[in-house]
């Protein structure tokens, strides 16, 4: 038994859950939190149907820890949460990065900080998805903007996590999570699984792509996995600066050096644009509508939509910055803005919106015209 | 006929002295001098009293072995069949 297929009318969270099943996820551990709970509830029913396991853990820390354990026992695993739970998971995300455990974490973002606005959207956790844990490491973040992408990008998230052995965050928001749209669920979905190493070798020695082959418990590997700084055998080597540098550098380079293969953006009418709107998630839909309206008014507007938030498409942003005015739209007070500013090397215009309401195309148009 | 041999692993032993206390036959004794790492490694003073060496061969399985069970550093090797060599 596998994932739902065909043309359906689904809620975003449900599409995400089916995407996980399609990607081969057979373990889900989660904790209820608005507006992500539907993912857990749907998988509570579906996991046993597809021969997988569902468990509601006692808190978010237990949830993300359990999925790390499940992956080492050989099952692709996912959890889903929102802001407060995401913050709790940070230590374990760092652990997953350090141990190179492929996992997927869905954050259906809501108004923050703290308990904030449980039922309203925001995109305020995006920087945290890259820098939320202590120390240096790299993760991959994706930002769906439709129910279709809730399915497609969840599959992509699993494949990326397996390919690069990193935790991948699906940074959804309450709008994309709760809205209902037509979605096409294909019969065949391309999936990737981290290849296994031979036994008795140095388990954490990387390949040329900087990624070591994987192991699974119970097959005679005798692999020791630790969050301590470790050498290529996997043994703690905490007092060795050279070993630590080599390891941590590789954890970062693994994603940064492979960035060209990971980065995904979507562009509309940027070729001749004099102003480019940069956006992601739900606000990107308003941005696209605004671009079309502006074009009708004679303004050469275009849009760059970030599908991967991290690694960040730095070079493309710099190129666009040389050609046009840049306007960043996000539902926070300036997070991806910082990445855009860093790469553009010039002044960037900013239209934030917090409070739980989406940017309207009209207010975007008004803002751009005033520039 | 070989008596068997008890040896304390000089690299693993940290001189905690539990074996000296726990051996019911008082096989081990405290050293007079520390080794170069500062540990007082117990001396195998009376191996001829060791129950394991005396009884295991006849019993068909290991007897006693309390010192090994209590050694936190896994530093006591007891070979029932070893030739009794000069240290």
């Amino acid at each position: 038994m596998s994932h739902l297929t065909g043309v359906r009318f689904l809620q975003g969270n449900i599409a995400c859950a089916e995407g996980a099943i399609a990607a081969g996820c057979r373990f889900f551990a989660g904790y209820p939190i608005t507006p992500s709970t539907e993912v857990a509830e749907w998988l509570a029913k579906r996991m046993p149907e597809v021969g997988g396991v569902f468990i509601q853990m006692e808190d978010e820390i237990a949830s993300v820890s359990a999925i790390v354990g499940a992956r080492w026992a050989g099952k692709k695993a996912m959890t889903a949460t929102s802001g407060p739970g995401f913050s709790l998971m940070m230590e374990t995300i760092g652990y997953a990065a350090m141990t190179e455990t492929p996992i997927v974490i869905v954050d259906v973002q809501r108004g923050g900080p703290s308990t904030g606005q449980p039922t309203l959207p925001a995109t305020g956790d995006v920087l945290q998805s890259r820098f939320g844990s202590h120390g240096d490491y790299a993760t991959i973040s994706l930002a769906p903007n439709s129910v279709q992408e809730m399915f497609d990008l969840t599959v992509e998230a699993f494949n990326l996590s397996e390919r690069y052995r990193v935790p991948v965050m699906l940074m959804a928001d309450e709008i994309v999570g709760h809205m209902r749209e037509k979605v096409v669920l294909p019969e065949e979905v391309e999936t990737f699984t981290a290849p296994l190493s031979r036994r008795g070798v140095k388990y954490f020695r990387p390949g040329r792509d900087l990624v070591p082959k994987m192991q699974v418990f119970g097959r005679g590997y005798g692999v020791h996995v630790t969050g301590l700084t470790h050498d290529e055998r996997g043994y703690p080597a905490t007092s060795d600066p050279a070993v630590h540098t080599r390891l941590v550098r590789r954890l970062v380079d693994k994603v940064e050096k492979n960035a060209p293969r990971i980065i995904r953006v979507e562009e509309h009418l940027t070729e001749d644009a004099e102003v480019v709107l940069i956006s992601y998630g739900a606000p990107s839909r308003s941005a696209l509508a605004a671009v079309r309206e502006l074009r009708e008014m004679g303004v050469r507007a275009g849009m760059l939509r970030l599908v991967t938030l991290f690694p960040f498409p730095c070079r493309r942003v710099r190129e666009l910055g040389e050609q046009a005015e840049l306007v960043v739209l996000e539902m926070n007070l300036g997070q991806m803005l910082r990445e855009v500013e860093r790469c553009a090397g010039r002044r960037v215009h900013f239209l934030p919106k917090i409070g739980g309401e989406l940017h309207t195309p009209q207010e975007v148009v008004r803002f751009v015209r005033k520039l | 006929m070989s008596m068997g041999r008890i040896r304390i692993n000089q690299r693993y032993c940290k001189g905690c002295g539990i074996c000296i206390e726990y051996c019911p036959m008082r096989v081990f004794e405290e050293a007079e001098e520390p080794n170069e790492r500062g540990y007082f490694i117990p001396v195998v003073a009376h191996p001829e009293r060791c129950t394991l060496l005396k009884v295991s061969r006849h019993l068909g399985r290991r007897a006693c072995g309390l010192c090994q069970e209590m050694c936190p550093d896994f530093a006591i090797d007891i070979d029932v069949h070893a030739e009794d060599e000069e240290e």
Binding site: S65, V68, A70, F217 | R5, R11, F74
Partner: protein, 331 residues
């Protein structure tokens, strides 16, 4: 020439010895008892997975030749839950300590016991946070001194065994390192059961704890355990006689039940193996070489293991590579 070495050594990673634990540390005794129990029961070592948190006892799996997951502080039980549910055929053993499990890990401890999650938890209780220098933990006895209770601990301690028992665990036992045979028997009994099984072992930490409480050596601490622990059935009798046991520690079996573990309740027991094996290719890719080569490699590794004598192990420890070792053996 000594060929028969300490019984625990064949399960230890020789290249990492000697271990970092202090002289006289109780953890080594727990390891001896545990390995003996596993050998006597004929446990399939390839299916064993050790999961540990942070602390001195949590360092143990790093020295053992098994699959192991050394996790974050307080969370080994949560990681272990994921491992066991994802592959119920694995024998998942959690190695933790009083601080790791009962303080920061309290929530996971409580719920795993409540769920009767199929895990064997060996909790090394040394009454303090040893690794970080000797701070008070939830099990530090009332009035005893630690670095964060310099005037004497003012907090009544948690009785880990009784909490686990009250929460619904299938098997709970507490012994001290002064009675290694009981530790071994408890672990053997636990390994034969399902559900949540806790073996709490009172272990000595002379270096940072005992020393601050007038028990400066391992021998003195073991003597204290011998003199101050009372077996449960004995304790009940003494209390009936009106003897004051408040300064003693009660040891023994606190729970011995046969309720279904979570794996059974979720319908994940062995009968479902056929379905799971079909799932496996989807979830995890097979090794890329062909079956014959894998089998041959496995036989070679087994042979190396069998032929590996203490002398060879010593050479490995010294960092000699394969050619040099071969050279030495041929001399």
């Amino acid at each position: 020439m000594i060929e028969e070495e300490h019984p625990s050594l064949r399960f230890l990673r020789a290249e990492r010895m000697p271990h970092i634990l202090c002289e006289g540390c109780g953890n080594g005794i727990v390891v001896n008892a545990m390995l003996e129990a596993m050998v006597e029961l004929g446990v399939d070592m390839e299916k064993v997975v050790f999961v540990s948190g942070i602390g001195c006892s949590s360092r143990i799996p790093g020295y053992l030749r098994f699959d192991s997951l050394h996790t974050t502080h307080g969370r080994p039980i949560a990681f272990a839950t994921g491992i066991k549910l994802a592959n119920p055929e694995l024998e998942v053993i959690v190695i933790t300590g009083d601080g790791d499990m009962a303080s920061i890990g309290g929530n996971h401890f409580l719920h795993a016991a409540r769920r009767n999650m199929d895990l064997l938890v060996i909790c090394s209780n040394n009454y303090n946070y040893g690794m970080t220098g000797g701070q008070a933990s939830p099990t530090t006895p009332l009035g005893w001194r630690t670095t964060t209770s310099p005037y004497g601990n003012a907090e009544p301690p948690m009785d880990i065994a009784r909490v686990a028992s009250a929460a619904g665990a299938n098997y709970v036992a507490r012994w001290s390192t002064a009675s290694p045979l009981q530790i071994k028997q408890a672990i053997k009994k636990a390994l034969r059961k399902e559900g949540f099984r806790l073996v709490e072992v009172l272990t000595q930490c002379p270096t940072v704890f005992g020393r601050r409480n007038r028990l400066r050596t391992a021998v003195e601490m073991l003597r204290w355990y011998r003199e101050n622990t009372v077996a449960l059935h004995h304790a009940e009798e003494l209390e009936r006689q009106g003897v004051d046991l408040s300064a003693k520690v009660v040891v023994g079996e606190f729970a011995d039940r046969s309720k279904p573990g979570l794996v059974r309740r979720l319908g994940l027991v062995r009968e479902e193996v056929a379905e799971k094996e079909e799932e496996a290719p989807e979830a995890v890719a097979p090794a890329e070489e062909d079956e014959r080569i894998r089998e041959a490699r496995r036989r070679i590794l087994e042979a190396i293991e069998r032929l590996s004598t203490p002398r060879v192990r010593r050479m490995i420890e010294l960092g000699m590579d394969v050619e040099k070792i071969e050279e030495e053996l041929l001399k």
